[in-house]
Homo-oligomer: 328 residues x 2
């Protein structure tokens, strides 16, 4: 079977690709376990270089997800699954509303229509976000049964796609599953336009011996999850029996609720033998305003019942990052 | 100021037009009460005849709401308000998914973009629906804080438009307000493609001396509201202070929760001096399946706090219909 990963050359897309290459098979539209013969990574721009772990099964295509013909060209077989990760992120969406609508909403609709045009019931795993929650009436603990009143364009488009995926699935157009992601840590590389970018920086920059300037205070609290559990969750959600998911195809991924202070403490514990760059706080009102709209705590009973994984604690997440990305 | 009513030549659009002609003014984008010099009724097809109550202020235009240029041509002044009532209805949406997406979602986006293109903050009142609620996890009593997991394409597009209107309003693109309608009774004329069509037929056909064949049993229960309170609610929501509505711009309209048996009893009470056509039950699985997805009861604290009206009981609704549409 063929796997399409939109946003596939981003950090999570690459981790997911590596996991699928190792795994070698997934449940196909037939319901049987099928070998993966192609993994197509689609992204706004194809990277200049191939990753060393990509074998001949991996193809890379750059293009505009808001172009219907482009997307229909990617989803060109019936024995196919799609992991739809491509998205304008939260900070980016606040700065360019039209781009967020074009990529996240029109792009999503193109994916949904292309899957609908195939024979059978191909599976779709969609990267939704805890940013679907927010606003003055937001519950203290948000989860699978909380009303979605997002306060960012990013979160609004994710909530709209959850609704669309539920309905396309109900209509029998494809078999969709949405995974509501908390903040994902620890992303390697450089900060990005996501308002949550600092939650990786607080670990990554000090571990690289660089200073980290936090845009929010150490008492800020949020639910988060390590990238290993995110990738494991995507695959587990793809493999779950449809009947076990039911008519609401979206689940909040498991998460750990911690403060920025907890993050710094875990970093200092796990990396006690390393020289860490300094961490300081310089409040950034633009980021603070977005972070203030995030939920403080998230429940995740449905994902846990489906067997989706979670790291035990922050220490496990920091240790995994050191193992995966630093010289030990 | 100019008022655009999409779906304006339908039953509720005509009642709203009559109410606005009598009222003569609304709060304009300036915040001041402004005389209405034009009411533009937009609909899929312009009716062959003008209603007798339409004076020279009323203009009628037929066209396709999914055509962006058409919609931008309607919303051609800054001193404007829009009542967006146009919609493919529930039964129609189940039979033609693509039409529901084109009219309800693309059409909605065209309205939102055209309002955004105006200077100032024009007000929009959107006819959403209690059909945004549904599914296996639906609360027994749904309302302003209930999660929206619609089980019809109609309800899904209404929920998506609520999300979009919240975000366009948050961004300062226009001043949107969504009114979540329960089943509206008593519609005159003929049955339509809405799954709820029988809830008007059960009154209308017997009052006209005609038989009514109910597609569901008399124990079916649902929240409903008379058309006078619906129109009053649209106008009151348009006039409400934005700060009183807050960041979730959608409210469930007030409603009465009654059974089909209650409806028949009220009809027989209020029309005791009339010869009524017979009412029989012949279950229709297509309609029963949709009705089974509706909520049994609805709360409406926010609308009530905003002063939106409700009839006292079914008897008042039946008496109003007789006064408005039958020879007394």
């Amino acid at each position: 079977m063929k796997i399409v990963i939109t946003g596939g050359t981003g950090f999570i897309g690459r981790r997911l690709t590596a996991a699928l290459l190792t795994r070698g098979s997934l449940t196909g539209p037939s319901g049987a376990n099928e070998p993966i013969d192609e993994i197509l990574l689609f992204d706004a721009a194809a990277p200049a270089e191939r990753a060393p772990e990509w074998d001949e099964r991996v193809k890379v295509v750059g293009g505009d997800i808001s172009d219907r013909d482009t997307v229909f060209g990617l989803i060109d077989r019936d024995d196919i699954s799609v992991f739809h990760l491509a998205s304008v992120v939260s900070g980016g969406g606040e700065k360019d509303f039209d781009l967020a609508i074009r990529v996240n909403l029109t792009g999503g609709l193109n994916i949904f229509e292309a899957l609908r045009a195939r024979d059978g019931l191909p599976r779709l795993v969609f990267a939704s976000s805890i940013a679907v929650f927010g606003g003055s009436a937001m519950a203290k603990v948000v989860g699978d049964h909380a009303k979605q009143t997002p306060q960012t364009t990013y979160g609004m488009t994710k909530a709209a796609c959850e609704l669309l995926i539920n309905d396309y699935t109900r209509k029998g157009f494809f078999d969709g599953r949405s995974a509501r992601l908390p903040t994902v840590i620890i992303r390697p590389g450089k900060p990005n336009a996501a308002a949550s970018s600092f939650v990786s920086s607080v670990f990554r920059e000090p571990l690289n011996g660089q200073p980290c300037v936090l845009p929010v205070g150490t008492d800020a609290v949020m639910p988060l999850l390590g990238y290993r559990a995110i990738v494991g969750g995507f695959i587990a959600l793809h493999e779950a029996a449809g009947e076990a998911i039911g008519d609401d195809r979206a689940v909040s991924l498991p998460s750990l609720t911690v403060s920025v202070g907890d993050m710094i403490a875990a970093l200092k514990r796990v990396a006690a033998n390393r020289t860490l760059g300094p961490i300081t706080v310089e409040p950034d009102p633009f980021i603070e305003e977005i972070v203030a709209t995030w939920p403080l705590d998230a429940s995740h009973q449905r994902a846990t019942a489906l067997g989706l994984p979670r790291e035990n604690d922050l220490d496990e997440i920091v240790a995994a990052y050191i193992e995966d990305f630093l010289e030990t």
